[in-house]
């Protein structure tokens, strides 16, 4: 079976019914502990951003005692990503298959599916799918705030337990103490959809697509300066150029491509022909696929403005709980705004570099780490642009609408 896998037979106007889903994929065998070996052999890694081996995660939850929960993290806090909501609204049964199989394999009774509040079609599709199947009685659907931190698993768990959407200190990790303080398996919807197909077809089948190091297919969201922005299912290891072409090709000459979303890495144009979309291929460029967001930036955009505004936005989305997000990110965002506006005392960029180094790995969650990864990559790829703005102030492109844009439904403060 070639691509698409997860998106096989889907329609844009409505979700696949249970009968349609079964006609396309067949029914899934019962899942038990042998699923862990199949996942290890398949080499499936999490598709929410961290690329953590799925089999390892399932085993660690299975090894815990007491009642356990599966949390499907469909919060999709990455502003330009829509792959999870597309998957949930088109193929809800595939995700439920995966969630229920994972629950059976780790010994969990409850399944909670977190879906952003601004995704009514995904919510409706899930409600319809749960009502259609008798095995989904223990599935709860939880609409969650539209916020960057909603994707952060400890913040999501704290929110679902009735408190604020703010990360907690780990350890303990969710597999040790998660929802209602019970061991919790947190998985991205796409990861569970792959799991559902590995359960049916096995690990060799899964590896027929993708690379040796990063097997399988992946859902990516391609946006920015392309003719037909949207979600694609690609074979991992696909050349970035091809993926852009599938999105209709660049709508203008490109200045750079951002891979990995707001925590991602900028790829300069000269490197584009050599980039493949898999973690090993991207590692050559200091990047990773993360949640699969690919943003093309055209030559008419101002990267300094894009980066300054994105950093200010990320700072605003933080919970301001730890030193890095109460001091470091606000300082960086303020300095970037001064550099972009040309109010620089000649040392702004050096301060930004220094603060970037101070912020990483010192918060409770990875928001600050990802923000400075994005920032440092921008400083590397656009050194002249930053220096020009620091010296001369705004360029003509500064007033243009941003390419790195955020849906209006995002909460301005973490709810």
């Amino acid at each position: 079976m070639s691509l698409p896998r997860l998106l096989a037979g889907v329609r844009d106007d409505r979700p696949l019914s249970l009968a349609e889903h079964l006609a396309i994929h067949g029914s899934a065998p019962a899942a038990g502990p042998e699923l862990f070996d199949a996942l290890d052999d398949a080499g499936l890694r999490g598709r929410g951003g961290a690329s953590f081996p799925t089999g390892v995660k399932l085993r660690s939850v299975a090894a815990r005692r007491g009642s356990k929960t599966v949390l499907v993290n469909g919060a999709e806090g990455e502003p330009m990503s829509s792959k999870d909501r597309v998957l949930l609204r088109c193929a809800p049964h595939l995700v439920l298959d995966g969630a229920l199989a994972a629950a059976a394999a780790v010994g969990a009774r409850a399944v909670v599916v977190a879906v952003p509040r601004d995704a009514p079609r995904a919510l409706d599709a899930l409600h319809g799918a749960v009502a259609e199947r008798p095995d989904a009685r223990h599935v709860t659907i939880a609409p969650v705030p539209v916020a960057y931190l909603a994707g952060e698993e400890t913040a999501l768990i704290r929110y679902l337990d009735g408190a604020s959407l703010k990360p907690t200190t780990s350890p303990p990790l969710p597999f040790e103490r998660g929802l209602r303080r019970r061991p919790t398996l947190v998985q991205n919807p796409e990861t569970l959809a792959h799991l559902a197909l590995i359960l049916r077809h096995g690990s060799d089948w899964f590896r027929e697509v993708g690379t040796l190091g990063h097997p399988g297919s992946a859902m990516v969201t391609v946006c920015g300066a392309v003719e037909r922005p949207g979600v694609q299912e690609i074979a991992l290891g696909s050349p970035l150029d091809n993926v852009l072409l599938h999105a209709g090709g660049p709508s203008d000459h490109l200045r750079a491509v951002l891979v990995g979303g707001f925590h991602g890495t900028w790829i300069p144009p000269a490197a584009l022909p050599t980039v493949t979309l898999d973690d090993e291929g991207l590692a050559w460029h200091g990047a990773s696929l993360a949640a699969g967001v690919v943003v093309a930036l055209d030559v008419a955009a101002c990267p300094v403005q894009e980066v300054a505004q994105t950093m200010a936005w990320l700072e605003g989305q933080s919970a301001h709980q730890c030193g890095p997000c109460s001091n470091g990110l606000p300082a960086i965002a303020g300095e970037l705004a001064r550099v972009a506006a040309g109010y620089d005392d000649g040392h702004g960029l050096a301060r930004i570099e220094r603060w970037g180094g101070l912020v990483a790995r010192r918060g409770a969650c990875r928001l600050p780490d990802g923000a400075v990864r994005f920032l440092r990559s921008a400083l590397e790829v656009f050194p002249l642009e930053f220096a020009e703005h620091a010296r001369r102030g705004p360029c003509r492109a500064c007033a243009r609408p941003l390419t790195l844009s955020v849906p209006a439904s995002f909460s301005t403060v973490a709810a």
Binding site: C322, N327, L358, A364
Partner: protein, 69 residues
């Protein structure tokens, strides 16, 4: 047994006492928040590390001991 110091970044509010009591292993960033390297604490600093952990007004500094297999 290897002892390390860990900061709970949410609990920490940058009082900075720890850096005064254990300057050998803790420095403060420019906002007064501790920077720790996570390396093992040598035996001759253990007493100071314990004192620093006990002095933290937010109980954000912890001395963790782990058994090495």
């Amino acid at each position: 047994m290897t002892a390390r110091i860990r900061v709970d970044p949410i609990a920490c509010s940058g009082h900075g006492l720890c850096a005064e009591l254990l300057p050998e292993r803790i420095e403060l960033d420019e906002w007064g928040y501790p920077i720790v390297d996570g390396e093992p604490i040598p035996p001759d600093l253990l007493a100071h590390a314990r004192e620093a952990a006990a002095a933290c007004p937010k109980l954000a500094l912890r001395l963790t001991a782990e058994r090495r297999a």
